[in-house]
Each structure stands twice: as C-alpha cells, then as structure tokens.
Symmetry: C2
Subunit: 246 residues, 2 copies
C-alpha cells in the first residue's frame, strides 16, 4: 500500500559543506524547535546527522504502522496527521506546523500517517542516530519530553472538543486554536490561514464536510468571521471566544 512519495532529499550533511545560509545556526525554526535547547557546538554535532527533505502537496512523509526509521523537524509548510479505521473512516489527529517535531514518541512504528498539505520542508534524522545523540544529552530528552507533555495537553483539549462540543463550537474552537498556534510561532494576525481543505477540518473535528461548510457560512453571515480564499479573517474575536465556550 505504499505509494511512491517521490520525495527529494539532498545528500547528507548538505547543510555544512560550504553552502551559505543553510546551516542549523541559520535555521528558520531553530528557536522554536527542539533544537533551541542545544548549544552551538551541539548544534553542529546534530547538523552532521541531518538530512534536508522536501515534499510536494499530497506526498506522504510516513505512513501509519510503518517502522519508524526517522524523526523530523518541520521547517516550513504544513502536514496533516491521520489515523484510519479499517473501513476507511478517517480521523485527523492534528496538523504539524513549522517548529513541530514528528516522531517524538520514539516508538517502533509511526502511530499516524503524515501527509503534506502543500510544499513542505523538513529536517530528517535517522532514529538510531537521534536516539544516540539523545542518550548523550539528557536536556534534549527533557525538551522532547516537555513537548510530549504539550502534545498530550493538546490531545486532551481535542478529546474534550470531540466528545462534548457542538458543531459550531468545534469549528470556532478550531479557528481560535489555529490562530493561537500561529501566534506562538510569530505569525500573529487576524487573518488565519487554512492550509487544509474542508474535508481535513471535518475529519479533525468529527464532522462532515457539509457541516463544516455550513458552520463557516453561518459564521460569515453573522459577521463573526470573513471567509477569504485560503483562510478566514476573524472579525469578532470576543464573540468567537464566547461561542467556543472554552
């Protein structure tokens, strides 16, 4: 069931062989990724093990159940993380954005599939390599563990949403949480980009595509948001926050 992902990968160590502006030190997401806890010397050490990897829209970074051979830092773009039921029903567990770390559970097999929502840039490490570095650097492990705690928190938030919120609350809460995540990485704005399609949102919120569309239309008609191509503009954040019932 593996499709040819046709990813493009530079040769290992590409970053530090004299190319300008490509090293980890200049990395766009250095300060918001796990790498932020590393000293410069450590960074170089890790850099020697890194592989730059890019994907196009729709390509699969890894599939649910596959042996987890690599871990990844997302540098640019967005991915969706999905689980499938045998009969095809799909749940989108979340979306990975720049600065996120994929594979932080360090398990034998990937528990989700990761697919690019658009052009994506990642920094790949062999799992063995990374595990070795981590064994030598407890503060890196600690940082990873903190991220895991954060992920667990998000997962709980999402469970609450899926189990106890109405369709409208789900959509509103999703828009606000996306805005918060963008804000944390610097891109603060009233206009929230939606790199995923309606079906992805639906599968994330436990709804159908039609219901998501209806709720967005309704919010638009109520002038709480403004639908724009590729995203939404949040017009009345206080009202949205009340609607989300968080």
């Amino acid at each position: 069931m593996l499709v040819d992902t046709g990813t493009f990968e530079r040769s290992p160590h590409a970053c530090h062989h004299g190319r300008s502006g490509e090293g980890c030190a200049d990395c766009k997401v250095r300060l918001i990724s796990v790498c932020s806890v590393l000293a410069l010397a450590e960074l170089e050490e890790l850099e020697a093990l890194s592989h730059h990897l890019t994907l196009d829209k729709g390509q699969t970074l890894f599939g649910q159940g596959e042996p987890a051979g690599s871990v990844y830092n997302v540098i640019d773009g967005a991915l969706r993380l999905t689980r499938l039921l045998p009969d095809g029903r799909r749940q989108v567990m979340g979306f990975a954005l720049p600065g996120d770390f994929l594979g932080l559970a360090l398990q034998e097999r990937y528990s989700v599939s990761a697919e690019a929502l658009g052009p994506v840039e990642t920094c790949r490490f062999g799992r063995e390599d990374f595990a070795e570095v981590m064994a030598a650097k407890p503060h890196l492990l600690k940082s990873l563990h903190e991220r895991a705690g954060y992920e667990l928190n998000l997962a709980q938030e999402q469970m609450l949403l899926l189990g106890r919120r109405t369709a409208e609350e789900k959509v509103v809460a999703f828009l606000l949480s996306l805005r918060d995540r963008y804000a944390r990485t610097g891109h603060s704005s009233v206009t929230v980009e939606l790199p995923m399609g309606r079906q992805d949102m639906a599968d994330h919120l436990g709804l159908t595509i039609e219901t998501v569309s209806r709720m967005l239309s309704r919010l638009d008609r109520a002038h709480a948001i403004l639908l724009v191509p590729g995203g939404v503009r949040l017009l009345d954040v206080p009202r949205l926050e009340r609607m989300a019932a968080s």
Copy 2:
C-alpha cells in the same frame, strides 16, 4: 472550589522504617510501574522520598489547574481523569489503574482532575524531589518518556473513537480496551470489572448515560455480553471485536 479531600497520608519514609512487607522492593506494582527500570539501590533512594497515600471513593487526588506539587504512582484502585468545560460539560480523559503514573508530563499545573472511583492506594513524590532524581537518572526520564508516548497513543485512539465511531462501537471498543489494560497488568479474565459508573463511561465516550445504558442492554440481549453487578462478562469476543471495527 477545593473540597477537603481528607486523604490519609503516613509520615514520609514510612515504607522503610522497619515495617515488614512495605518496602518498594515488595511493591505490588513495581514490575509494571516506572520503578521497573530502577535497580535496587536506586529503588531505595526513591523510597526515601516516597509517601504512601490512600483515598476513599469520591475523594480528589488533585484538581485541574492546581499547581502540580506532586506526582503519583497508582498502587491499587482506580481513578478517573476529567476535564471540565466552564458550563459544566465534562469529559473523562481516561481512567488510571494500578501501575499508572500520574503527572508524567511534569508540567506546572495539572491538566486534569483525578478522583478516586473507590478505595485507592498511591505512592506520592514531591515534584521537585522527583525531578531531581530524574535529572540524575536519564533512564528514568527515558522510561517516563516512553510512557508519555504510550499515553499519546491511547489519546489518539480515543480521538478516533470520539470522532468517528458510533455509539455501539464506542461502548464495545471501551469494554475491549479495558479488558486489554487489565490483561497487561496480569488480571486476565473474560469478566471485565467496571469500577466507574455509567455517567463516567458516558463522559468518557462522548455519549449520554442513557445511550450507554441502552447499548449495554442491547449487547446483553444479543448475548454478546452479560451484565453482572460491577462489571460485564464478555460472551462473544470475536463478535465484539468485529463490532468495534478496530
């Protein structure tokens, strides 16, 4: 909003002051808890920091949002882990059983409330104390991280359940997952104990108490399960597994 939990705690170090059969080495859950990765010498070190703590049914171990002053090993009994929406809607994130570790995210504040479903026995550590020990023992941190990965996996499973399964599938999947968890801790049996009430199950599965009750009755009438006081007997596991659509 803090109720008097009225918990009973022995004086610190109670375990190793000559009392027989009370040390960590004899701990009932030693081999299935995080402590399983510790050598005997390390175990004694940790034991010096441990506090034995018991709760009665309904008592709160800690509340959502409170500063996370302690972490806990569950020795006996069961707790429910809940999150509340401002308007009172409740989501049960999961149930803690013997061998489980509470507070493994090591965050500033508890992200859930933990309430005893019956008599509960725990092993408490001050968060600072535990963090210190962990800083000195990377393999303990690694073990905790692995547990976090496992929790994350469970959380994803639950998201899939909440978002994409029908009421019947939810109830069946819940019964089977409980059986699996009991099996992992040794208590393998076709009779699955249900230490939680119907409302707890409902709040865990994103249903109402009535729907849970109806589904259980229906399964009983269909001779897939047998409702017994305090639990269920799984009569036709293969069929249940088909119904769960996992």
